[in-house]
Symmetry: C2
Subunit: 353 residues, 2 copies
């Protein structure tokens, strides 16, 4: 079975475009005529909201399917409307797959043991039912959170191997406060890390001076930002999921808004595919995103959501074009993004085509 | 409006029981007769699985409603079956609330900006629709993940204040690999942390010896396990959500399986309510869980899932009692857990009743 990383890279080659489009539907941003159409059909219900999201997504998918390799629906916006919203998510994913797009679900799930397995089974694997195992969401890949350690990641690694799927683990996220936990300087290496950890006992903190005989003797003590440690875990966890093209199906989320950190992480995780959100509305540009790519021109898929989906509106919510042409505007924005990225990759000699 | 923390504490007083029951339905663990009943009604479909989960949960809720203060449904097990599963989750939550139980949703959500807001709106707040704002899941509290920093927590804090709801932030989780990211020794305090962070530049790691002039001069450098830093954030984030009884509605998840860490965290976060999973099947006992309580006898709600829900079965999946009496067995297990906890709290002079 072809690995997710190979499927992703083949799709990127076929379309000569390493980008994907986020599908983050918001009630407020839906075209008026579409909202009205769904209201007439389903009343003022969550079912109508969900139908509106689905119809909107289908039109976007029709418009961009020949341009980009994947869609990245953000589960939060669907599940906010309960079961009808989740159903619209599932139908969106099915529609995208039917039209030869990969589906990268942005869900940032993270739990432990059997619970992590339930998430993995439901989203990329198979769940138990009367006739053995059956797919539920069946997306191609999903984003996951590393805070609980490997217990939370293991089922995704196993399902990725078994079903040719993938996962992207949060390493350095694109948001302003990502540094609070991710950038903290940590003691990455120490000749006796367990001894160092034991020293805390029931104390929550120790002055470095109280650790002098442990730390001073240790010329090998290495300090690093916390995301470096997460990166080393992800690199390690993904080792068993390498595809024939050399990249692992266990990727990393690395925000296009932090190019310096992206360059560091790129060197640390040469075989890890990066999902790079933050291009567009969040402030990342193509040059920033280019830091996520390897010198072979692969290793990253750049994502943009609002700037593509809502290209028909300006920042104040006014319409730039007739709202019925939201899909045409999205297609133009997706093409512009592709050209922007490819041109920057060409300039830095990283374009494979 | 009464804060979530006050509602929780009042309920704990009324029932003289600081424990809650996890509702983690698994297809394999459902009683045969119930599975068969649902199969006959809905065929071999996910709707039938969802109906089975709901009927099972309702019977458990009927059995334990006078004993415990809250249920903690784990969303993973429901969403694994798509929209029907999510619907069963919603109906379970509604049924529990109608029977005077608080609902603490275990979902461990974590995202950024508008996406985090969509999660919060959908689960504890209100979402936009035609007639203004409307509740969707409307649970009392939800578990959330801190890896993305305050961007991911802010909407939950705001909705908690606005709607009398709450959130429990993962700090030290109950699972074996929780230490991988949570226990790492970090530099918690340094006279110039920004300068220290800048020194990394485009390097991913530095030997302590290369930082000698920065670190050696700094007698104030303080080292701590990573969960201590998360704890200080949670304490800070929850400050605005204090109820009249002194505790914040922004709580912390602290596993009952790590009593030493729990004691440390208890001292660091005196006003934070702990949700303590891990009692029962995961190996935590009442004495371990007692470490999560303050000397006033409050400050923690202990959770058990499998040991209560599936008390009718032994470890090998054989039935201990007729499977039709699974609810009776669950009630007995919930009472035993209550007595176990209260007795240990009494022994350590921490029992408020």
């Amino acid at each position: 079975m072809k690995s997710f990383s190979d499927r992703l890279m083949d799709a990127i080659d076929a379309k000569e475009n390493p980008s994907c489009v986020g599908l983050d539907p918001r009630f407020d941003s839906m075209p008026q005529y579409l909202r009205e159409q769904c209201r007439r059909k389903y009343g003022e219900t969550f079912e109508a909201v969900a139908e509106c999201f689905l119809e909107f997504n289908k039109a976007i998918i029709d418009a961009i399917r020949d341009e980009v390799v994947a869609v990245k629906p953000q589960m939060a916006f669907y599940e906010a409307y309960g079961a009808p919203g989740v159903n619209a998510f599932k139908e969106t994913a099915d529609y995208a797959k039917k039209h030869d797009l990969l589906v990268i679900e942005d869900a940032k799930r993270g739990d432990i043991g059997e619970t992590a397995k339930a998430y993995s089974d439901g989203h990329i694997g198979k769940v138990k039912s009367w006739r053995g195992m059956k797919e539920c969401f069946d997306v191609d890949a999903i984003t996951v959170n590393p805070y609980l350690g490997f217990d939370g990641i293991k089922p995704f690694v196993e399902d990725s191997m078994q079903y040719g799927k993938g996962a992207f683990v949060l390493v350095k996220t694109s948001n302003p406060s990502s540094g609070q936990l991710q950038d903290t300087p940590i003691i990455l290496e120490h000749p006796s890390l367990p001894e160092l950890q034991r020293r805390f006992g029931d104390q929550s903190r120790l002055r470095l001076s109280e650790l002098k005989e442990l730390i001073d003797a240790a010329d090998e003590t290495v300090i690093a930002p916390n995301y470096v440690r997460t990166a080393s875990f992800v690199d390690d966890w993904g080792e068993v999921c390498r595809g024939v093209r050399g990249y692992s199906s266990i990727g990393a989320v690395v925000g296009a808004t932090y190019p310096e950190e992206a360059r560091t992480l790129r060197k640390l995780m040469p075989s890890t595919y990066f999902l790079a959100p933050g291009y567009g509305v969040q402030g990342g540009n193509a040059a920033d995103a280019a830091a996520c790519f390897n010198t072979d021109g692969y290793g990253a898929i750049v994502s943009s959501s609002r700037a593509i989906m809502y290209a028909y509106r300006d920042e104040t919510g006014g319409n730039i074009c007739p709202e019925e042409e939201f899909d045409v505007a999205a297609k133009a924005a997706a093409i512009a993004m592709k050209e922007d990225l490819v041109s920057v990759l060409r300039q830095s000699d990283k374009c494979p085509w």
